[in-house]
């Protein structure tokens, strides 16, 4: 990150700076405020004034046309700035959902993949059925089953503390469960294919030295296999950032939910989704940059990224 910043870094830095400032304000400096009531910290009035002035500027002809057009642009900026507080609140949940799902999903995916490659017949069959069911049905349907069908919220609501202060409400937990198990299935596939691409001689050599199969998998197979799974895994992370928007359909107030609600209030759907779109792009860009960093840091000299010999 030192030296000349790349274009990606220049684009992404403002997003995170803004989010951190906004979140600090909302949770630490002025906590307890309802999301819809939050007001932008940025000089909104000044921007709106500029827009109005531009609109009126110029009598007629080309200059007037240009300034009116510019006014439209500045007014869009004002609208975007005004909606930022809500979007920032939504972005928090989007990020929370994504990070929880990818990490918890990973914890489930590794045993699923290992069992699938190294387990006995019944275990392999079990792992296969689980992953195929989860990958074969729509994510939204899975979320609906959890939220509306099984009414998980009822059970989760019994847990003390949920919904209090900064702890998100039950819907968010249901969403995390849904995304976790779904992502686990996809991640298991990436890991499985990475493990299968590994040279069989690695485990054989480990066993020949006296390691048990499990120890061999833990010390020799997984460290290599997981590295080979990184490209697929980054893919999953990027997808998850976008699929997290499905949580809005089970009442989670994520980025998409906020965008939709601002849209339905103002009828300015195109504009608000454009702004939300910028958020998503910057989040995806951040994720890609992070994964690139991970890939370089975990690279082994002499070992490629695909496991081919």
């Amino acid at each position: 990150m030192l030296g000349r910043p790349s274009l990606a870094q220049l684009l992404v830095a403002p997003l995170w700076l803004y989010l951190i400032v906004r979140w600090t304000h909302d949770w630490v400096l002025a906590p307890g405020q309802n999301v819809s009531a939050r007001v932008s910290l940025l000089p909104l009035e000044a921007v709106s004034e500029t827009a109005r002035w531009l609109d009126r500027a110029g009598e007629s002809g080309l200059l007037a046309a240009v300034s009116t057009w510019a006014a439209g642009g500045v007014e869009f900026l004002a609208f975007g700035l005004a909606s930022l507080p809500q979007l920032a609140a939504g972005a928090w949940l989007t990020i929370l959902l994504t990070v929880s799902a990818i990490l918890l999903g990973f914890v489930l995916a590794v045993p699923l993949a290992v069992v699938r490659v190294y387990g006995n017949r019944p275990l392999r069959w079990l792992s296969l059925s689980i992953t195929e069911t989860l990958r074969g049905t729509p994510l939204l349907a899975q979320l609906f089953v959890l939220y509306y069908g099984l009414s998980l919220t009822r059970y989760l609501g019994a847990i003390p503390g949920i919904g209090w202060g900064l702890i998100p409400g039950t819907a968010v937990f249901v969403a995390v469960v849904g995304f976790t198990i779904n992502s686990a299935a996809y991640q298991a596939e990436y890991i499985r294919s990475a493990l299968q691409g590994l040279d069989g001689g690695q485990l054989t050599a480990a066993r020949a030295v006296g390691l048990s199969k499990l120890a061999g998998i833990r010390h020799v197979v997984l460290p290599q296999g997981l590295r080979f799974a990184i490209p697929g895994w980054s893919n999953e992370l990027v997808y998850l950032i976008k699929y997290s928007s499905l949580a809005s359909f089970i009442t989670v107030g994520d980025l998409f939910f906020r965008a939709r609600s601002i849209g339905s209030d103002s009828y300015r759907y195109l504009e608000i989704y454009a702004v939300a779109g910028v958020f998503y792009v910057l989040l995806v860009l951040s994720a890609s940059m992070l994964m690139e960093r991970v890939e370089t840091r975990t690279a082994i000299p002499g070992l490629g990224t695909t496991g081919d010999r």
């Binding site: 050599a205 030295v209 390691l211 020799v220 290599q224 082994i300 002499g302 070992l303």
Partner: protein, 259 residues
Amino acid sequence: MTGDGRGRAEMLRFENVSNSYGSEEVLDDVSLALAPQDVEVVIGPSGSGKSTLLRCVNRLTDIDAGEMRLDGQKLSGLDENELRRRVGMVFQQFNLFAHRTALGNVTLGPRVVRGLSREAARELGHEHLRRVGLADQADAYPGELSGGQQQRVGIARALAMGPELMLFDEPTSALDPELIGEVLSVMRELAGAGMTMLCATHEMGFAREVATSVTFLEEGRIVERGPPAQLFESPREERTREFLSRLDDPTAVDRGPGR
């Protein structure tokens, strides 16, 4: 003659060992015995079962008939992992742990299996790397080493577990010619230091100089077995003679009897 197993402690014994892969018989009624410090070289055409023979010793492959003993104990009665601590193996394709340095490769077994502390394992690792002439490559990754260096790390890795018996499965077959020598000299030194070794190899020079006994294996059966001088100079069996002559003149076309 070595390996007669009478009145001397035996390191390894095969007794009527057979092994099949599906319907195909890979080993057929193999019997042989090694005394401690013996160097047994197994030669034969590819597909003759040399690798399988070796893999039966450390139970990477299971036998279908017969009995095997290590130092008098039945192999079937030993715990697999326990057995593999006592028998080291060196592979044709090296099979080094690609994600670990040379030192890391050598120390993994002692750390995980024998529970050595980090420091003790490192010291042991350095010692064994020194022994194979790679003291300065401790921090290199397999991807950065030449074939000969990788194989020597493989040997060090096997030795670090303190085995009683070393198995060499065509250790130089995947090496460029100019790298073979460095591996063979490590093996020669090992034999000189008194390690019991069972080697499948095509390196006849090594067999002539280092082996205490040479076995010719063809289609899973021992065709002939004897001291290298006898087997190479005056083989008893016709098939042995044929195989050896093919090695001497590899491009000769078989023109049938009377050539």
